[in-house]
């Protein structure tokens, strides 16, 4: 067994695809549909065959409720790892994304939290031991 896919609920898959590719810099990996269901994933260009992030439509009441509650509680829906959180913060902010937390030192890491404009907070994490600058 492998961990190959993580999922976030989004309120609009086309908007999410634009945000996760054009703003965050990921690449579209899979995009196919069965009836109204659309399986849409992105992957990191640094790791094209690595873990994919599924952009799942929040088209059921449980998904909507979960997503909204997590957002209101300030809880990230997903966590992305980087070797340069400050660089990514500047780059992503420069492309128009809103950060709810700028890069902040915490135990063992530096984190930042952004709004993906599709109903989620997404955390960027740079582990202290992986800091290169």
């Amino acid at each position: 067994m492998k961990i190959k896919v993580a999922s976030v609920y989004v309120d609009d898959q086309d908007k999410a695809l634009r945000f996760y590719t054009e703003v965050l810099g990921f690449a579209k990996k899979a995009d196919f549909s069965q009836g109204p269901f659309r399986w849409l994933t992105v992957a990191s260009p640094e790791e094209p065959d690595g873990t994919e992030l599924q952009l799942a439509l929040n088209d059921n009441p449980a998904a909507k409720a979960y997503q909204q509650a997590m957002f209101q509680q300030g809880q990230p829906a997903a966590m992305l790892f980087t070797d340069d959180v400050k660089g990514d913060y500047e780059r992503i902010k420069g492309r128009g994304a809103e950060f709810t937390m700028p890069p902040t030192d915490v135990t063992g890491s530096t984190i930042a939290v952004l709004n993906d404009s599709c109903g989620n907070r997404i955390q960027l994490t740079q582990l202290a031991r992986r800091k290169t600058r």
Partner: protein, 182 residues
């Protein structure tokens, strides 16, 4: 060989695509040699839907105001959505929503049969696939109504049949769109 193994979809029918900006509506017509009342049952009864439709329903779609859970068959992860039947004029007009797709059915009596029309909005990238998928569903529906059921053929099952790629390509050509993967 069983009837199912022998099944091959015929050529693409004339279908319409109505484009309203990003929202595209697929309009499909199928003439069936069965009266509207019988077709209506197949469109609304969960047991019959399970024999031909690309979704399962946990209740009848035949009563306006009813809330019904629809489960997409063949989705790569379980996909359950809820709909409210917004129109159910038996045996003429039926409207509900399938996971964001508006579904509008019209049944017109012609001779002893029915002209069945479906209006459904499908993501425009997958509209030719949707047309081919419904084409196969209608073939299976016709067999069901004729008492020679083939068993449901949807999703990846449909793509295994000889003729699927051709049918899909014919609809793509008819609509002037590129064939997406699959």
């Amino acid at each position: 060989m069983t009837a199912r193994e022998q099944y091959t979809p015929g050529p693409a029918s004339v279908a319409q695509v109505r484009k309203d900006g990003e929202k595209w509506t697929l309009i499909l017509v199928r003439e069936l040699h069965h009266p509207p009342a019988k077709v209506w049952q197949a469109l609304t009864d969960p047991a019959q839907l399970r024999e031909w439709a690309p979704f399962d329903a946990d209740g009848s779609l035949g009563t306006v105001g009813t809330r019904v859970k629809l489960t997409t068959v063949g989705a790569p992860t379980p996909h359950v959505t809820e709909t409210t039947v917004t129109r159910a004029d038996a045996p003429k007009a039926l409207e509900y929503n399938w996971g964001g797709f508006d579904m509008r059915w019209q049944l017109e009596a012609i001779g002893g049969g029915t002209r069945l029309t479906l209006w459904t909005n499908i993501d425009r990238r997958f509209i030719s696939m949707g047309a081919a998928g419904w084409h196969v569903c209608f073939d299976v529906l016709d067999h069901l109504l004729s008492g020679t059921p083939l068993g449901r053929i949807v999703g990846p099952e449909a793509m295994k049949f000889a003729g699927w790629q051709r049918l899909h390509a014919e609809y793509a050509k008819q609509f002037g769109v590129e064939t997406p993967r699959g």
